[in-house]
Amino acid sequence: MTTLPASTRNKLGLVIDLDTCVGCHACVISCKGWNTENYGAPLADMDAYGAAPEGTFLNRVHTFEITRDNAPPMVVHFPKSCLHCEDAPCVTVCPTGASYKRAEDGIVLVSETDCIGCGLCAWACPYGAREMDGAERVMKKCTLCVDRIYNENLPAEDREPACVRTCPAGARHFGDLGDPQSDVSRLVAERGGVDLMPEQGTRPVNKYLPPRARDALEAPDLASLCDPSGDQATGFLGWLDRALERL
C-alpha cells in the first residue's frame, strides 16, 4: 500500500560510521548471503562465472577520494543500502502497492508477489538502493533484515541486521532513530551524523557519521621535549648518567 504512514511508531535504521569503515565489503556479502537464503527470492547472479557477471546486491560499498587544499588527500569507504526514508518516493510511485513503508517501524519493503517489476521505484530512489533481480524480475532492496530483527527462531542477541552483526570494524549501528535516547540517536548527536542528499526531500532515517579530522597531528615544541642538552653524544651521555642515577 503506497500511501506513506503519517508517522511511524519507531524509526528503525542504520548509522554508518565513515570514520571507521575500512571498506572490507563484509556487510555486502553477509547481506547477500542472508538475503539469498531468506526474504523472498534468492538474489541472483547472472553470468556468474562469465565475462560480465551481474548480481543483485542490497548493500554496496563505494570508495571516494577527497582532495583537499593544504592537506593530504583522503579516502573514504562508503557503504550504502536503503535509507528507509520517511518521505520515501519509491513507495508512492509504486503502482501495485508492492512497495510499502511499515507503520510500526518505518521499514520500507517490497512484497515480491505483488511486484510487477516495472522498475519505477528504482527510478524514484535517489540513492540507488533498489535493484531488479535478474532472474526473478522483481524489485529487491534492503529489508533492514526485518526477517532477523523480529525473528523468534533466532537467539535474541542475533536479532539485528546481518550486515551489522558481521561488520568486523563495528562501523554499522542499528537502532531506533526515532527515540532521541537510543544509542544510535546519541551517536548521531555526538558525531554530527548527516543525511544523504537532504535536498531530495526524502528525509532518510539512516544516518552517516562523517570521518573525523585527518592529518591534524601538530608539530611539537621540541624544546619542551629535549631532556639531553645538545645533540652530541657527550651531551647525551651526561643526561644518561643523570637519568641512570635517578633510577
Binding site: D17, T20, V22, G23, C24, H25, A26, I29, K32, G33, T36, E37, N38, P42, L43, D45, M46, A48, Y49, G50, A51, P53, E54, G55, E65, P72, P73, M74, V75, V76, G97, A103, A135, D147, Y150, N151, E152, N153, R165, T166, P168, A169, G170, A171, R214, D215, A216, L217, A219, P220, L225, C226, P228, D231, Q232, A233, F236, L240, D241, L244
Partner: protein
Amino acid sequence: MPKPPLAELSPYVSDQIRKTTCYMCACRCGINVHLKGGKVAYIEGNRDHPVNKGVLCAKGSAGIMQHLSPARLRAPLKRVGPRGAGEFQEISWDEALQIATDWLRPLRDTAPEKLAFFTGRDQSQSFTGWWAQSFGTPNWAAHGGFCSVNMAAAGIYTMGGSFWEFGQPDWDRTKLFLLFGVAEDHDSNPIKMGLGKLKARGARVIGINPIRSGYNAIADDWVGITPGTDGLFILSLVHELLKAGRIDLQYLIRYTNAPYLVNAQQGAENGLFLRDEQGRPLVRDRRTGQAVAWDSPGIAPDLAHGVEIGGVTHLPVFRHLADRYLSSDYAPEAVAERCGIAPGRIRAIAAEIARVAFEEEITIDQPWTDFRGVRQEKMVGRPVAMHAMRGISAHSNGFQTARALHLLQILIGSVETPGGFRFKPPYPKPPEAHPRPHAGHTPGQPLDGPHLGYPLGPEHLLINDDGSPRRIDKAFSWEAPLSAHGMMHMVISNAHAGDPYEIDTLFLYMANMAWNSSMNTSAVMQMLTDQNDDGSYRIPRIIYSDAYSSEMVAFADLVLPDTTYLERHDCISLLDRPICEAEALADSIRWPVVAPDRDVRPFQSVLLELGARLKLPGMVKEDGTARFRDYADYITNHERRPGIGPLAGWRGADGTGRGRGSPNPDQIARYIEHGGFWLDHIPEEAQFFKPWNAAYQDWAVSRGIYDSVQPYLFNLYLEPLRKFQLAAEGHGHRQPPDHLRARIRAAMDPLPIWYPTFTDAETDPAQYPLHALTQRPMAHYHSWGSQNAWLRQIHGHTPLYVSGDIWAQHGFVQGDWATLTSAHGQITLPVARMAALNARTVWTWNAIAKRRGAWALDADAPEAVQSALLNHLIHELLPSRGDGLRWANSDPVTGQAAWYDLRVRIEKAPAGQRVSQPAHAAQRSPVPAPARDIAHQVKV
C-alpha cells in the same frame, strides 16, 4: 484502505548449526554453518570464538560460494596431454595412490632428497613437516619464505615473537597505534575489530604506507612513505627519541641486553659479548665499576659506560646504539627526501610517540613477580602499539627494517606491557628455544631432525664442506643464512637449473606456484614445461594437491583433489600457527560439516595413506599396517612428545588435560561440542611481561609450551648476526664464499641498519622511475576469490592506480590502458587515477589476474582479459651486474622474496588496447563449464 502485505517476520532459519573454522583465509575465524536438509544454507560468525567474536569478513561470508564453486576438482587426475595444457584423465584413488607410491618409494630407498615437498596456504605444517622428516628429504618447507619470514625472523631473533599472527596490539588500552605497511594481514578480522575499538575510543591511528586505502584510509594521520625506506624513517624516529631522552631506561636495563658489554678486542671475539667463564654475558655495575654477570643480584647495570680490560674499552650495547643513532645521518632532515616525508612530520610523530608513551603511561593494579624473583606491585604500560607486515617485510632490507621497528618499540618500553604490543602464546619464545635446521638425509631413513629452525651462528648453516647448499631452495646457506621458513620461491628455478642438484619429484600442496606465488611467472611456466633432449621434463615429476581448478593444476602429472574446508578435518594446532589471543591459549579444528559429493579425499588423510604405503616411520604399526585410519585419527592420537599432541584441549583419558596429557579418544567430539575450539585463559598475573614473568613462565611449562622455564632478554644487539659477520671477516672454519663476504658483513649488522633495497641501489631512476606494489584486496584471498561468484563481482580486474601527476604527465583518460615495464618484463593493464598515493608509486590488486581456462571461468572473464599480475615483472634474481653471478632478489639475511622492491616505467598503451598482456594460451579446464546464472537457495 487496503491493508499492507505482511512480511514474514520469523522465517525458519535452519534445522542445524554446525560450528567449525573458516578457511577462506588463514585468519581462522569461528563459523556457524546453518544447514537445511543437510545442505549448507547460510554461514555466519561464531560469537563465542576467540578470533572473530561473531564477525565475519566478506570472504568468510561468501564461503558457501566457495563450497559450491564450479572449479572444485572432482576426482584424481592423470596428465594425458603436454604439461601446462590441462589435459587430464580422471582416475581412481587406488591408481593415483599407486602411481605416487611407485614414484616415491625408489626415491626414499636411494635418494630421499630428490623429493621436494613444499606446501603453501596449508595450515598443517607441523604435520606435513613431520611427514617429510619421516620420508627423509631435507627439502620441505611451507610458504613463509616468500611471505613474511623477514617479519618472523626479525621478531623472533629480537624479542622472541613477531607481528604477523604471533602477537597483537593491546587493542583495549592502546592510545596511539602505528601501522606500517599493512593492507590486510593474516589477523584479518582481529585487526579490523581492533581498529574499530580504537576508533570507538577516539585513539589515534597513524598509517605508514605509500597507499592510503583500507586501514590507511581510516588512519587519522597518513604517512605516504616511499617504498623501501621505512627503516630510515624508523631510525630517524629513534634518533629523535634518543635526542629527547624519551626512552624507557628502566625497561632497557631490566628486560634487554642494552647493558651487555660488547667485546672490543680485535680478533675472533670482536663484537661478541664479554662473558665470564660460565659463558654469562657481563655488564658494568655502576656501583662498583666492575664487569659482573648480567644476572648478578643487586647490581645497577650501566648503560653509559664501559669497562677497560687490558687497555681495551668494552662498551655496553646501549652506547653502541646511542652512538649510532644519534648520528646526524638519522636526523629528520637527512632522511626526509629519501623517505618522502617532511622533517616536521617525522618530528611530530616522534613527539607524539614520546608524549603518549611517557605522559599517558597506564598502570594496572596487578602485582607480579619477575624471573629474578623481584615482586612488582603494578603493571606499568606505555600505550603506544605498533604493527607491521609485508610492506616492511617484502623488501631486500626487510629483516633489518623489522629489527629497527622492534628497536623502536623496545626503546619506549612498549613490548609486553599494557597498551603496547603483546605476544600470543606459544610466543614469546626466544631463538634459543627454537630448534636448529636439519638436512641430514640417509636413504631409507628419516631426516636427522626438524627441517627448519633458527641458526645461532655459521655452525648451524645447512651447507656441505665445500660451502654448497644442502637444500634445493638453498635455505640456510650463505645466500640466506637465517631463512627460517625455507625459500619456496626458489624451488622451481633451482630444480629447473639442477642447482645445487637435480631432483626427481616436485610435490606441491595448496600453492599456486605456476601463477601468483611465483616471481617471473611466465618463465616459471616455461621451466615447468621445459624438456630435456630426450623429451623428458627438466623437472621429471610433479604431484600436486589442490581443491580447485587452479593454474598450478595444469602443470601437474598427478593431481590429488582435496576436499573443501567444510568437508574435512583440520587442526589449527599450537605446534603450528594457532589461534591464540594475547590473553589466552587457543586452538581449533575443522570437521566435516557436510560430506563431499565428489570423488575427493582430504589431503592429509591421503598423505597418511601414502606414508603407510611407503612404510614411513610413525605411519605404520609394527605389523606394517597403517597406524592412522585418517587425519582425524592422527589428530587425536599422534604425540609429538609424550603428552603433547596436535590439539591441546581436553587431553588425557578423562579430558581434563590442558596442553599436556595422553591422547583422548573423545577429543574431537569435545571440540565439536565446544564450537570447534578450545580456550585456556592465561592467569591475570601472567598477562603481561611474559618473557620475564615467573607466573607466565610456570604456566607455559604447565601447558607444554616450554619444557622448562625460558626467561630471556630482548636482543637489541643480536649476537648471532655478529658471528656471521666474523665469518665474513675471516674468522672461524665456516666462511662465506668470497663473493658474499662483503654482503654478509654489511647486511648482518648486529644493530639495526638501513640500506637501500638492492633493486633501488641498482636501478637507474631515469629508466625505471616508479615503485610498483600490490595490495591484498580485503574481499579476496590470493587466487581463490575469483571462483567465488559473489566475490569476483567486487574485484574482477586489476586497474593500475597511478597518481594524478603521472596521470597528467602521460595524458591518461578514463578507459586508457598502461604498459608497465621493469628490467625483466612488461605487462599491459587498465589504468586508473588515485590522489592518495606516494607520488613515485603505482599499484594494483594482488592475485586477481587469472590464466584463461583456469578456475572454471569463461576464457574472456575480466580476470583473464582485463587483468595482469605484477609477478611477470618481478624476477627471483636481480638483473645481471656483469660479475658473472646472478644475485637473488631476496633479503640477504632471511632469503625473503623482495616482492615490493619492484621498479618500473609506465607508458600509455596504444589506443584500442582491449586485452591485458601477457595473454597466455588458455589451459583446458578439468572441470565442466558451470551454469550461466545462479540463484542458490536451499528449499525445504
